[in-house]
Symmetry: C2
């Protein structure tokens, strides 16, 4: 009951899901820009959305749908236009999108959830979207997970997809997920999006609880530039097609399902951080000895979000002073004389005071990480111990390079 | 009673203050690195310090002194070594520094306050410091403000100094100030430091209150890279040598003094932001229509601290979407349909929706700012209206350039 296997197939790996991704002509580049995720039956649906006061119409739309009912059949996602700051017309476009898709699928419009990513202030190109819906529906298949993962990205360098499998009794249970984006990537381009499919049977409130906790330990623990988008959306479906007993409360199956869900979210979140603008490596910060888990996560996220720590790592500088300073300003109480900092295998600080260490070897550790293979040997590990508390937490980010500034500044106005 | 004149002299412009700044051999560069500010008589002393859990010995020392008594005669500031993360020995060095200076000045050690800036984890070079104290004391003079302002900087490009004068009745009252640093500037180099002198007579609790409010509207509203240092210190002295009546509570003199103090702090804070690493311009964000002043300040600081807003301005891109998104994630409630954004004279967004504007001219406004004269025409003004609340607030920062990354990454380990 305590582990799982990684399998292929992404969001269409779980039983009872189809997906598609096509070129609808929404992006000027001509790349795939419209994705569909479809459950064969009504699925339990849980969502986590941007906390920004400036939100896209699709975020308000999904919130409203999920408050009225915790189930869905389909998710429609467009890339190219964010449909944020588009006022009443943006809302009408969202409603019409769901109606057009629902009609093509012969399902209720209330069964459709929406997500958008692209340029803020631009409405969705509705004519192109409506014209593309029949093809999108026709192409939906049980092997369409990869096509969907391609159609939701914008300036991402790679697609992000994963699927895990375990067994409950003698039956397989699977969770798949795709995601895109790293903060607000491109000038005026927005959004972290994540979609998770699961074939377990689980009660709606428990599924939402699991998703919220998993998000706090994954997507909420990554930072590329500290900017929350107007469109951030994570939707998780659970359709019960594994034909395993319904999970309605605590127990080993619930624990296993939540651990798998968390692993899927963590994988997707790390992939987003690693694909951050201009990044040469993934940074993982592990904090232990904090008063509790939220405190540990707070310190980890503050360190991984520090521009000074990020630029030191880009410069291959094992600069413990910046790590200590970031931990100190995180808003969590600890005694500086208890602080311990380790970079890879190098202990840089113990009991709040710097230790002698092999600076050249530590710098070499950072050099190797940025030359490493994507998501394999390219991780810089920073371990920080605050004291003797039981709180542990992790956070992920990327280094700050010339290319970050270049990508975000060199937009020809 | 409602205004003042800018005068020369910096921290020695107010009556009854002497200062000096010399080369003590603490910095490897051989630049001035030891400063003294001396009041002829006991001055009321107020302080504001870093909130970091990782602190320099001088911060703990000043806090302890100011808790025991709210007066001081002298401030000793060294540059080169931060004396942070130096443990028990760092504390003993701080105590010895104050004792050596007190003996040379023939005052009580309790009358000395301390500040340090430089490399974290390094103790002060005590032999050099002790050997330099006699010269430091001998050179103290009523025209030494400029020398002191030079001796407290590290990688700052320019010194930061100001003095203002008003009259209470027929007598002049003056406030002077110096500051240094912009976040954690250099690899392992730390610290924002500010020192303010005033010759008014004011009660200790009122002076501390005024300083705290002024700090919230100035130093706490600037950001270069979001990193709070281990040594951040602002100390304000008021020695009563203007021979004006003691201010002990509310009234026109108290209002005038606080307004002047705030103006001094705002000037010094803006100078720090403008001198941020790699900055090509100063960014001022003015927020209005918020529920209250702290909310307005919070939104202003979030916008000015956004890496995406900062890099857009470096790229001369009038990117209202990033400004709106940063406002939205600031943690302050507002209705997006009320949002108004203005860049210089260009209204970019009204009632939550983008307006057509002359993009080339708006870009030209940003281009001119970064080519402007230091602290004169080089300010980019962003005005944001959230709604109909009475809360207004300002914040200052600088753009994010290639040079920021270069300065912070290219430290040869």
């Amino acid at each position: 009951m305590s582990d799982w296997t990684e399998i292929s197939g992404g969001i269409t790996a779980p039983r009872g899901y189809q997906a598609s991704g096509i070129v609808a002509g929404l992006k000027p580049s001509g790349a795939p820009d419209l994705a569909l995720i479809l459950s064969d039956v009504d699925a339990i649906a849980a969502g986590v959305f941007t906390t920004s006061q400036v939100r896209a119409a699709c975020v308000d739309y999904c919130r409203q749908q999920l408050q009225a009912r915790s189930s869905a059949r389909a998710i429609l996602c467009n890339a190219g236009q964010a449909n944020a700051a588009t006022g009443e017309q943006g809302w009408l476009d969202a409603v019409e999108s769901s109606e057009v898709l629902a009609k093509a699928l012969n399902i209720a419009p209330e069964s459709v959830l929406l997500a958008s990513t692209g340029v803020i202030g631009q409405r969705i190109k509705m004519d192109a979207l409506k014209a593309a819906i029949p093809q999108l529906v026709a192409q939906a298949s049980e092997s369409g997970g990869e096509a969907a993962s391609r159609a939701i990205i914008t300036t991402d360098l790679v697609t992000k997809s994963i699927a895990l499998e375990t067994t409950f009794g003698d039956r397989p249970v699977r969770i798949g997920g795709i995601s895109k984006g790293s903060g607000m990537i491109h000038p005026n381009m927005a959004t972290m999006l994540g979609f998770v499919t699961c074939d377990a049977a689980v009660s709606p409130p428990l599924w939402q609880e699991m998703l919220s906790r998993a998000t706090n330990r994954s997507f909420n623990q990554i930072t590329v530039d500290g900017d929350t988008s107007t469109n951030d959306t994570l939707i998780a479906l659970a359709n019960g097609q594994s034909r395993t007993p319904a999970i309605t409360g605590k127990g080993p199956e619930a624990d296993q399902l939540e651990a798998m869900l968390t692993a899927v979210c963590e994988h997707l979140a790390k992939a987003i951080a690693r694909d951050g603008e201009g990044a040469t490596c993934l940074i993982e910060v592990q904090v232990s000895g904090a008063p509790d888990e939220p405190d540990a996560r707070q310190v980890a996220k503050t360190i991984v979000g520090s521009s000074l720590v990020k630029s030191a790592i880009f410069g291959h500088d094992p600069n413990w002073g910046r790590i200590a300073a970031a931990a100190g300003r995180a808003g969590v109480n600890f005694k500086q004389e208890d602080l311990r900092i380790q970079l890879g295998e190098f202990v840089l600080m113990e009991k709040g005071q710097p230790l002698p260490f092999d600076r050249a070897a530590a710098s070499q550790y950072l050099t190797q990480a940025s030359a490493g293979e994507y998501l394999k040997s390219d991780t810089v590990l920073i371990q920080v111990k605050l004291g003797n508390g039981s709180g542990v937490g992790k956070a992920w980010g990327c280094d700050l390079s010339y290319d970050y500034v270049k990508i975000n500044a060199e937009y020809t106005t």
